[in-house]
Amino acid sequence: MAPLDKNDDGTPKIGKDPLEIPKLACGASADIHTFEAAPEHNEPLGFPGELLDNWKEVAIAKMGELAEKNRAFRVYLDTCVKCGACTDKCHYFLGTGDPKNMPVARQDLLRSVYRRYYTFAGKYFPKLVGARDLTKEVLDEWYTYYHQCSQCRRCAVSCPYGIDTAEISMAAREILDSVGVGQKYCNEIIAKLKKTGNNLGLNPKALRATLDDLEEDLEDETGIPVKIPLDVKGADILLITPSADFFAEPHIDGLLGYAKVFHSAGVSWTLSSYASEAANFGMFIGSYENMREVSWRIRQAAKDLGVKRIVFGECGHAWRVAYSFLNTLAGPFDFLDQNYPIPQHILEFTLDEIESGRLKIDKSKNDEYVMTFHDSCNVARGSSMGREEGGQFEVPRAVLKAVCNNYYDMDPDTIRENTFCCGGGGGLLTDDLLDLRVKGAKPRMTALQQVTEEHGVTHMAAICAICKTQFSKVMPKYGYDMDSIMSVHQLVANAVILDGQETDEADEPVAEEST
């Protein structure tokens, strides 16, 4: 593998321009092969345990079935004109220089085989149209490079035909799963969720114990008994949040923020131990059946608890699934209160509380931070928020600006609809892909470095569990502390003043925000 450009201290070298195109390094990431799933990971998902003897026939048939069922997939395979607009859009290409990480090349790994078996020209004149047979080498190459795509869709924004590499990557993983070649990280997690209700494998007793501990922290900090309810029947709001919010830093700080906001708003809310996960890795592996099964738990929990509303916590791809697909996957949600968005994002809830003036804020509590915001790919390019178009960009920024005095955006080519993936999305947030994750984070880290130099930005906020874990792991490689990544609701939590809460500076006036 080509060596990564490194500084003397071993940290990856950052250029001046986050969009800088690297020198081509053919095969640079050809040996990055994420761990394959064992039979006990594949079988609970309905896939063969290991590579089938007749894998070739099954794979070709599956490809045909997907092209038949999913018209978008077929159009994506048929329409590429090789214009090259996407070639420099992928963070993994920018980070590795491997030309097979150019979106068009990634698509062609599958397209070339599709042509061979499903087009006239490819059947009879394969060499003329770049069609190739499906061999074990091709299957291995799919596994390698379709697990170097985080399905972030940045390339799709630049494609004049709207070809979405994420869809092709999902289909490729679905074909691989159908012949018994699954990825350990995703499949182990989905199997665990089916057993325990969440990706972590947290049982109800352990979850309640964790929440008790956090309630203690909240009371120590504020002097107020702020509750984090679990499995409360008849609560108004069911909060669905990534299980990382019960485990990792800075995710937990975000959870404390949600609890403070709900407490301040005076609403009744609950978590569910049955649906204790917002993440839906069924999307990453392109499996409609698994995505549906994971989503169905949310519907079931909402019904069992008799809630009126569903609110989602900070999780990027969960919000894409929730916003864009939940109704078709697990709807109709006619049993919920139709006066509220179904589902609602926690940021929408919090912004309403801020704008109405109900939430008391002391922005100066965040004065030690100079913030920027990393738009999470699935939120940016797969969903919306609030009442206005582009709300998925404006709502998080409005909340951040309401709770922080110091805020600067990064390079416009790297935020909003042009945002880069954090480098760990789409089922790649696994330790065995750490080298790829570090390289894939390079464009974002370069853009961050720019605002650090220009405006003294010290911290970056995100609204996705994957982004938060990825950055806390890779930022130290780029010279930032691991806690330079923050939850948006962590900043909210810092700034909220609850009714009756004694503050350190009791004589200072408390500003009530109305943006």
Binding site: L200, N203, A206, S243, A244, E249, A279, D432
Partner: protein, 111 residues
């Protein structure tokens, strides 16, 4: 799959070095795993490992990092019971690396 050799016995582990049969854990094995991880076990490392094992026994899962730190803080004081120090003890993270040494399953998910 990988494995560890301890006192003449072979203990199976997965690709990432987490043992597959949790009953095969022993203090000697912990020392062997720690060596592979380039960690020289001292009293503080053992305090973390022991707490993780006790917690796991009660809840069948590793505690959140914050819960771990709070417990160590109570036991050994704030100089040791803090996030920064935990990462000095276990550079690859107190959750994953310490779990591996304690013979517990790897925490999975977006963590």
């Amino acid at each position: 799959m990988s494995s560890y050799e301890v006192n003449g016995q072979t203990v199976e582990a997965d690709e990432e070095g987490y043992i597959t049969n949790l009953n095969e854990w022993s203090e000697d094995l912990a020392k062997v795993i720690a060596e592979v991880e380039d960690i020289d076990m001292n009293e503080e490392h053992w305090a973390v490992v022991n707490f993780l094992r006790e917690y796991y026994e009660e809840y069948q899962i590793a505690p959140a990092v914050r819960v771990l730190i709070k417990a160590i803080k109570k036991q050994m004081g704030p100089e040791i019971g803090n996030n920064k120090y935990m990462y000095e003890l276990f550079p690859y993270g107190p959750a994953k690396q310490a779990c591996k040494i304690a013979g517990l399953p790897k925490p999975t998910g977006c963590v």
